[in-house]
Amino acid sequence: MAIIEVSGLRKVYGGRTVVDDVSFTVAEGEIFGILGPNGAGKTTTVECIEGLRVPDGGTVRVGGLDPVGDHDRVTQILGSQLQESELQPKLTVREALELYAACYPRPADWRALAGRLGLAEHLSARFGRLSGGQKQRLFIALALIGSPRVVVLDELTTALDPRARRDTWQLIEEVRAAGVTVLLVTHFMEEAQRLCDRIAVIDRGRVAALDTPAGLIGRSAQSVVVSFTPSAPLDPAELAALPGLGSVAPAGGRGGGEAEGRLEIRGTDATVDAVISLLARHRITAHRLRVGDATLDDAFLDLTELTAPTPQEA
């Protein structure tokens, strides 16, 4: 069953359309990602879901309710972590948890939540003195404190170091395991690829693609990457004629001389087959051969490039 339904959402700021005909549904129990470059309209979209902004067109439903008209009831089933919001600097962690617990009719046990989020030793620390990671954990706790059915996490890990980011990912998986639907806004491909069941790629206010991470990667023209250092130079014309070829480029050599002449070829499985037979035909050895799947990163660039040159018709 869909817990969030967005259909034909449109939002205009001062004559500029920042969200244009965005539609998607989030099923209960899912981790749904909204991925896109900065300024693509991701935050505006979730702010409409949170009821913080009034859409200029289309409809948004959370648990069947209108986030603007039924704001009170929506806030009881939707927990939010906002991008760039703070708490009162002199508020302690304990006071913040107690205050926000008091805001809800059926709050979760804040002590248990603090324990789970590693905040138990920081209860008497003031918000202004917390580290970036501690603040984010507190915000996750506050998003969960009303026992919501769905949480919106907007750019949760942007300010975190890699270790804290990985810890947060584990937390998000635990949140979902506890039965809470997660709507995750991010511009980190790795994060979306690792966590999300499905992803909506938003680019310049529109949904450029909506699929599973594997589906998005597969849909891209260049889903396989093969790289190697040939024992003898290859004919550029023959390389250019490879079937399903995405691109051929000298691989970025970090090891100095060793990487000289190293190639990186992007394409489909057919491209890889053709490369192998090409090498065999010329009796060229491929040193340090690597074949890998393209990441969501590649797929994302591909998808957003498709719409890049001119604004297209829908």
Binding site: T75, L82, E84, S85, L87, Q88, L99, A102, C103, Y104
Partner: protein, 246 residues
């Protein structure tokens, strides 16, 4: 209801963690009265003031100072900061309206100004034998109405200012005229008559006249009370209209 109470309790704790506000709102008015009262000539009856002493006239003045400190100096940067830092937005994603935070802070600043007024009255009575207001009800009414206009003026600053810094600058710009019309440099009652007529059309000038009359035992003139009430309503309405939640 209990949620709004929890907001009020939490904000009261935070209020107690602001030493600057506690001093300037809570203590400074009484300290100022103490300093003025130590000037010997201020404790002598002055025929030009209708036989009253300067220190008698300064008691209502320092009460107005408490209101100005609370409403114009302390409150606007704080509330603007709540908006600027996204604290109001964070609250609006819960079933509690962010207005609860504003309401709590307005209530607390008002309560602090009233507490400070009581302290200043006690200092005046105990240290300088200033008589407690003889028309108590009229005094209280004038106090509450003037406080209302001070808080409403602070809310206007908060609505107009985009950032806490701007709110502070605007607060300071409004601060000095307010202190003047409250009679800090010269009590309203000792101002030249023409100036008095102008000043008593402003909230603190009118408040000063009303408090002074009630202190002497008379019911404050209705025009003075009306001036403070109208200012409170107009400023409050303007603040509400101009207020932006983000």
């Amino acid at each position: 209801m209990s949620a709004n109470l929890a907001v009020l309790k939490t904000e009261a704790r935070l209020f107690r963690r602001e030493p600057g506000t506690l001093f300037w709102v809570g203590l400074f008015p009484a300290v100022l009265l103490g300093i003025l009262g130590m000037i010997p000539s201020f404790r002598e009856a002055d025929p030009s003031l209708g036989g009253r002493r300067a220190v008698d006239l300064y008691v209502p003045v320092v009460l107005l100072v408490a209101m100005i400190m609370a409403g114009i100096q302390a409150m606007p940067p704080l509330l603007t900061g709540y908006r600027e830092r996204g604290i109001l937005r964070r609250m609006s994603t819960t079933p509690v309206r962010p207005g609860a935070l504003l309401g709590a802070q307005i209530t607390l600043h008002g309560a602090a100004a009233l507490g400070s007024a009581v302290l200043a009255l006690a200092v005046g009575r105990l240290a300088f034998e200033v008589r407690l207001p003889r028309q108590l009800l009229g005094y209280a009414l004038a106090l509450v109405l003037t406080l209302g206009s001070a808080l409403a003026l602070g809310c206007v600053l908060c609505s107009v200012a985009r950032t806490a810094k701007v709110a502070q600058v605007l607060g300071t710009a409004v601060f000095f005229p307010s202190m003047f019309t409250a009679g800090v440099w010269a009590p309203v009652q000792s101002m030249p008559e023409t100036l008095q007529h102008i000043v008593q059309l402003l909230p603190f000038g009118a408040g000063s006249q009303a408090l002074s009359q009630a202190a002497a035992g008379d019911w404050p003139d209705w025009p003075h009370l009306a001036v403070t009430a109208v200012w409170a309503l107009v400023l409050g309405w303007g603040a509400k209209r101009a207020f932006r939640w983000e």
